[in-house]
Amino acid sequence: MITGLFNNWIVIVLMMSGLYIVIAHGNLIKKLIGLSLFQTSVFILYISMAKVEGGTAPILAENIKELSNPLPHVLILTAIVVGISTTALGLALVIRIKEAYGSIEEEDIQILDNLPQSKTQKKIMDGEQ
């Protein structure tokens, strides 16, 4: 009875571990990794929803009656490719942050932001060397 919900619980565990990484870690790359963990767990949720007991892949052929739902497949198929392009955009931003601040730790960036202007520039110069 209750085992029918098992897939949702797995997805919740995965999602929450992704969310935990995003909140708890200060490293920007690690945050992006948490975000893509979250993303993939959403994909798993959609795909497991589409499954029909006894169904096969949604490609029409003779002698096949039951098919899984093609609609979530379409949505996730495009979402994966969009996901990688947006992740790449995030990584590009991380590279620019590294070049500007010399660090990708959230804490260091905040400290640098709060410094007076002249000191910030000096710090950046230090970071680059």
């Binding site: 029918g4 929450m16 708890a24 798993i44 497991s48 739902n69 198929l77 490719v81």
Partner: protein
């Protein structure tokens, strides 16, 4: 874990595992894409970035308590929500009962191709897909704006010298890849044009094609690849893909149908659908391939520039 390299590798393994899970859940098209994108290109991009930003995470402040409270609270709410969700695999759950029966029962008569995923992607929901393609294109432009560097023309002898020194080191893998890359590209084209009948289509084919080119540029150097596929060329191709997609919609509008209504493209509606899907998948394939290659080129160029600057700085100091 403080070693980001290990974390990225684990993410790649997780992607590959979820791809095999998608096969078990009958989503072959999705598994295809996830295996190529998640385990291939995304891991690679993360590794490139790690080489530029440093491998170790040096955390001073860790705030697990706030995070744990948020996570447990959200997780509990979601868990409570699952009790109303229809059970796994049940055929009578709401998502199987609204538009899906029409896709499954009528698509063979209306579109005439066996792979329902392709017919939904490229015909019933062509407008959605157009949006996705534009998002990918925009992401490509954004990365170019953030990372692209001015070209410094390199001298051919220098490239050749570097190439010779690399040749010894990567001899075996270079030869094997030289054998494999044509087959990878051929397979990508097969996936592109066979998408109507089996799993496949523009998105998967684009990613696989790009993976082949990226493999080549990793082994033979960026400058040699850039001679074959130059940056302006892929920029144009990525725009042409979106243009091709949009213009199919416009032509159908001019012929008197709705936007992306392929029935009016030819006199026979089913043949019109075939033509429309073929053109649209081609547009998707062009855009995805060129944006993926563009992303990799920009990241790798930036890395080269950074290394060049580092060497230069060291020279100045000494």
């Amino acid at each position: 874990m403080n070693d980001l390299f290990a974390v990225v590798m684990l993410l790649g393994i997780y992607s590959l595992l979820s791809a095999s899970f998608f096969v078990a859940m009958d989503a072959v098209d999705v598994a295809f894409t996830e295996a190529a994108v998640g385990a291939g290109i995304s891991t690679l991009l993360m590794l490139v970035v790690i080489t530029m930003t440093g491998r170790k995470e040096n955390t001073k402040r860790h705030k697990p308590f706030l995070a744990l409270i948020v996570v447990i609270f959200t997780g509990g709410l979601l868990l409570y929500g699952t009790f109303d969700i229809p059970h796994f695999g049940s055929a009578d759950s709401p998502i199987h009962n609204h538009v899906t029966p029409r896709y499954i029962n009528d698509s063979i008569n209306e579109i005439g191709i066996p792979n329902i995923v392709t017919s939904v992607l490229a015909s019933y929901r062509a407008f959605d897909t157009f949006g996705e393609v534009v998002v990918i294109f925009t992401a490509g432009i954004g990365i170019m704006a953030l990372l692209s560097v001015a070209h410094h023309s390199e001298d051919n002898h220098k490239i050749a010298a570097v190439n010779d020194s690399m040749h010894e080191r990567y001899l075996v893998i270079r030869i094997v890849s030289k054998i494999l890359i044509p087959f990878i590209l051929l397979f990508a084209l097969y996936v592109q044009f066979h998408g109507d009948f089996g799993p496949g289509g523009g998105f998967q084919a684009g990613v696989i094609f790009a993976a082949g080119i990226i493999l080549y540029s990793m082994l033979f150097g960026l400058s040699i690849t850039r001679k074959v596929i130059s940056q302006p060329f892929i920029q144009i191709i990525s725009a042409v893909g979106v243009l091709l997609y949009g213009s199919v919609g416009l032509v159908s509008l001019l012929q008197g149908g709705n936007f992306f209504d392929y029935n009016v493209l030819l006199t026979d509606p089913v043949a019109g659908q075939h033509l429309g899907i073929l053109l649209i998948e081609l547009g998707v394939g062009c855009t995805v391939t060129s944006v993926m290659i563009m992303i990799f080129f920009n990241f790798a160029e930036r890395r080269e520039l950074q290394q060049h600057n580092n060497i230069h700085n060291k020279d100045l100091e000494s």
